[in-house]
Amino acid sequence: MRFSPATALVLQALLDGRHHGFDIMDATGLPSGTVYPILRRLDAEGLVRSKWEKDGVARKEQRPPRRYYELTPGGARTGREHVARLTAPAPARLQAQPVEN
């Protein structure tokens, strides 16, 4: 799979604990039309897996459930390698702040 700079940003966001599509979009500064196809490709290549968040979380916040993305072990390894190789110093916004699941 080709790892473009945009893909590296998305991988970085996942490594930093962003798990929802719009959060990744917000963290990377990439438009939603770029982020989602990357997520789909990573999913198809087996580097990311996705599932629906727990019902309880959505109910508590009284909103529809969101799709949760996380790196597979292989994806985490691959992601760290390519992020190191391809990304420029991360933008200030991309802080390693864990987000509650």
Partner: protein, 874 residues
């Protein structure tokens, strides 16, 4: 804007993209976007609607990923890379396919724009033409006025039925008179076609009366060329035949009935036909065209049945003139293009064969190329690509090749069609308007898909199976692969032989045709046809006029002899006035079985000028004057038919002249002439002296030792010296007249020979390509053989032998094919049988002569390689 409104708007936008998402994923996809947008808006984040636009990219990605065309895009990219990396192979394949497809696109343009061209009239299938047919006489005949008037009065199948008499009127603009080729038409003519004039009107019922008939409708062509498209032309007074006429209308460009097509001249205008009382009695020898529009609901078959019954009725009423006379009813389309239909389909068949050879050639190239890709395909298969995936990839690559070839083909076809339009035979209707249009481009697109499937399927099927079988085991591919390629080469050779033998048959026919004795000399004769009736209405005026003209022409420098004749052979406005006669002293013939012949009028110098031999007795002489007893010479064809072993000289014929019986002595027999085509039977003719029966429809012929073309102007000036206002209907030379009649055959021959040459080149290239590939792949084996003592001759024999074996199989198959298709050519052949063994043998020799170097070159290259080098490299 409230959060709810923003969410609703954003979700609506997402909904517009949902149709792109594959159905199985759609529900989850909508939920996902709804969840993200709701969370985003709940967080108070702006621009939710803007971010919702991203749903379109996401949906498009899912669509292309989930269905096969994503793989097609990848395959196209991969295929493009392959073609760039192997430019030589790509150029050859695209070139070969491009040439074959260009020929197909050209044929398509010809078929769609000539054979299938929509006619511009309302309900064109109801517009028909009617012709007379005489017993066993070949071909359709123009109608005689008397017969037409009976059809018009009695037939009930037609809404309109009209006659059109070809007539040339002399237009005078104050400087020099010019001939206008016109039709005098009866009522219903314009109504038959149903097209309205673009200016003015057509003829009213009261304008078919003598005295009120001097009105004319112009064609759009004449309106533009002579009157500068003057919008005020309607109502204008013009001078025709030294009388005042009035222009009353202009017909559109679409109104080109082309009734006289094949006679090589466009009709410029139309005038009303005023029926003459005597015309009702003219039944032998027609010169009118008849058009009709079938009544609504009446089929052409019903009209034919009615006219057949009517013909038999008239035959019973007029047994002298109408014995065995029948009526042909054909559609306008059949009249316009029926003559060329078989030639066009022959052309299309030849094109299809060339395309087939090109496709087989490329199939072989793909197979050869594929053998070199077997490792790549095996690796892909090992990595998980299914056979269908590989098949799809290979077919997409073929489609890319064919698509690029289609682009090349359109460019080549545009040039070919332009060449056809400029150089094609002029008597093929609409050929000058040929062009590559949108339909041809659409055809090219469809053709590229068909070609990709045809040329690419077999290699794709074979090579996609490589993954299952593993990489090829031997250096030349498996045996089945080799046999397949050899079989394809043999198929190319067979197809090429079919085309070459067809072209050879046409060549022989053409040569035979040109060798036919037309009955007259075919060179160094200038020809000038004129109609002098209007300016010389009386016989004595005609004698005076033509006597003076002939005297001046005979005195021109370079003229060896001159004469005038009514029925000039091979001229477009060919006159054939037939008469019935009886032979004095013979038993009276049964009614309806009277001898019939064509009557010609000539001066004595005509026979020497045209080099027509006198076979018995004498030719006409100056002594056969107005006051002398009526005499005639007859053609040998007439003598053979009605006199057989008896000497006609001295016998008398009883004919009719101006309604009165005339006793005519036969003073000589001359050679027979063909009048319209070299492959028709000679005409049975009775030649009367001009002095004894002058006509105004005469052609001046003059033999010269210098270029006949240069004499034409001198003859025109000699005529103008007698009458400066005399116009000329046709000026040419005898060789141009004859050449025109073989133009279509010559053209067909050139085209077919060109295709045959192309087929030979493609087949030879295919043979060369396959043998080169085999020789290259067998390099190691050859190296070992040479190291063990084989000479270059042994190696050459090995490779050449393989090649000639393929050629032999192809030749045997091709002979069977050529023998079968030869029958299809039979209507185009003359003097040679479709299965002529000499022609077929010659075609085989040509093929072998071309194939031998194609076999020899790879053999020489293989044999010249150093065994040590070969073994070391491996």
């Amino acid at each position: 804007m409230s959060a709810d409104v923003r969410l609703r708007r954003a979700l609506r936008l997402v909904g517009t993209a949902a149709w792109l998402v594959p159905a199985a994923l759609r529900a989850d996809w909508r939920r996902e976007w709804a969840g993200e947008l709701a969370a985003w808006i709940d967080d108070g984040r702006p621009d939710a609607v803007r971010h919702a636009f991203g749903a379109w990219s996401d949906a498009a990605w899912l669509r292309q990923r989930q269905v096969a065309d994503l793989s097609a895009l990848d395959d196209l990219r991969h295929g493009w890379r392959q073609l760039r990396e192997h430019a030589g192979f790509a150029t050859l394949a695209i070139g070969v396919l491009g040439v074959g497809m260009a020929a197909c696109i050209t044929a398509f343009s010809v078929v769609s724009q000539i054979l299938l061209r929509p006619l511009p009239y309302p309900d064109p299938d109801h517009v028909v033409t009617l012709w007379e047919r005489q017993g066993a006489t070949e071909g359709r005949l123009d109608a005689s006025p008397g017969n037409f008037l009976d059809w018009q009065a009695r037939a009930t199948s037609f809404e309109h039925l009209a006659g059109a008499e070809p007539y040339s009127h002399d237009y005078f603009d104050g400087e020099r008179p010019e001939v206008w080729r016109m039709l005098n038409v009866t009522s219903g003519f314009f109504e038959t076609f149903g097209l309205a004039p673009i200016a003015g009107r057509t003829f009213g019922a009261d304008e078919y009366i003598d005295g009120r008939h001097r009105v004319v409708v112009l064609s759009a062509t004449l309106w533009r060329s002579r009157f500068n498209a003057d919008p005020a032309v309607v109502g204008r007074r013009i001078t025709l035949n030294s009388e005042p006429w009035q222009v009353i209308g202009v017909m559109p460009d679409a109104f080109e009935p082309n009734l006289l097509e094949g006679r090589g001249s466009r009709i410029l205008a139309w005038a009303p036909k005023v029926p003459q009382e005597y015309e009702a009695r003219i039944r032998g020898g027609g010169f009118w065209n008849v058009v009709g529009r079938l009544k609504p609901g009446v089929s052409i078959e019903a009209a034919r049945a009615e006219m057949d019954a009517l013909a038999r009725q008239i035959e019973q009423e007029q047994p002298r003139t109408n014995r065995d006379s029948r009526i042909d009813v054909i559609t306008m389309r059949e009249h316009l293009v029926g003559d060329v239909r078989s030639a066009v389909w022959l052309f299309a068949a030849a094109v299809a064969v060339v395309l087939l050879i090109a496709c087989v050639n490329v199939t072989n190239l793909l197979l050869t190329r594929g053998a070199a890709r077997s490792q790549e395909l095996a690796v892909r298969s090992a990595l998980g690509a299914s056979r269908w995936r590989l098949l799809g990839q290979l077919l997409v690559e073929s489609l890319l090749l064919a698509g690029l070839a289609a682009g090349v083909a359109l460019a080549l076809a545009t040039a070919a069609v332009r060449a056809l339009a400029a150089l094609g035979p002029a008597n093929v209707l609409w050929i000058d308007t040929l062009h590559v249009d949108g339909r041809a481009a659409g055809f090219a697109a469809l053709l590229s898909v068909a070609v990709a499937a045809f040329a690419g399927l077999v290699p794709a099927l074979r090579l996609s199976g490589v993954g299952r079988a593993g990489a090829t085991r031997t250096a030349t591919g498996d045996r089945a692969h080799r046999r397949l390629r050899a079989g394809l080469v043999a198929a190319e050779v067979a197809l090429a032989l079919v085309l070459v033998s067809g072209a050879a048959l046409l060549v022989r026919s053409f040569v035979n045709l040109l060798a036919v004795d037309a009955g007259f000399a075919r060179s160094q004769v200038a020809v000038v046809q004129m109609f002098a009736w209007d300016r010389n209405p009386r016989p004595d005026q005609l004698r005076t006029f033509f006597g003076e003209v002939l005297g001046r022409v005979q005195g021109l420098p370079g003229v060896q002899s001159a004469g005038i004749v009514t029925a000039m052979p091979f001229i477009e406005a060919n006159i054939d006035v037939q008469t019935l006669f009886t032979i004095v002293g013979d038993p009276p013939p049964a009614e309806g079985a009277e001898p019939r012949a064509s009557v010609n009028v000539a001066t004595p110098g005509y026979f020497a000028t045209m080099a027509i031999p006198v076979l018995r007795g004498r030719a006409l002489s100056e002594a056969d004057g107005q006051a002398s007893p009526p005499v005639a010479v007859i053609s040998q064809a007439l003598a053979d038919r009605y006199f057989r072993d008896r000497d006609p000289v001295g016998r008398h014929l009883l004919g009719r002249g101006r309604g009165k019986p005339v006793d005519i002595e036969i003073v000589g027999v001359v050679g027979s002439l063909r009048h319209e085509r070299l492959d028709e039977a000679p005409r049975m003719e009775i030649y009367r002296p001009f002095a004894q029966g002058p006509s105004g429809s005469m052609t001046v012929v003059a033999r010269t030792a210098v270029d006949a073309r240069s004499l034409v102007e001198s003859i025109k000036h000699a005529v103008w010296a007698v009458d400066p206002l005399q116009t000329f209907y046709r000026t040419t030379t005898i060789d141009e007249l004859v050449s025109r009649t073989v133009a279509t055959r010559r053209f067909a021959l050139v085209v077919l020979a060109g295709f045959a040459a192309l087929a030979l080149v493609l087949a030879a290239a295919g043979l060369y390509g396959v043998l080169s590939a085999i020789a290259q792949q067998q390099q190691r084996e050859i190296g070992v053989r040479m190291a063990l003592g084989a000479t270059w001759l042994d190696v050459a024999r090995l490779v050449v032998g393989r090649g000639l074996a393929m050629v032999a199989v192809g030749v045997v198959t091709g002979i069977a094919g050529a023998a079968g298709t030869g029958r299809l050519l039979s209507s185009f052949l003359f003097g040679v049988s479709p299965q002529d063994p000499w022609t077929l043998g010659g075609a085989v020799l040509v093929l072998v002569a071309v194939a031998t170097p194609a076999c020899f070159l790879p053999a020489r290259r293989a044999a010249s390689a150093s065994p040590a080098e070969v073994l070391r490299t491996d």
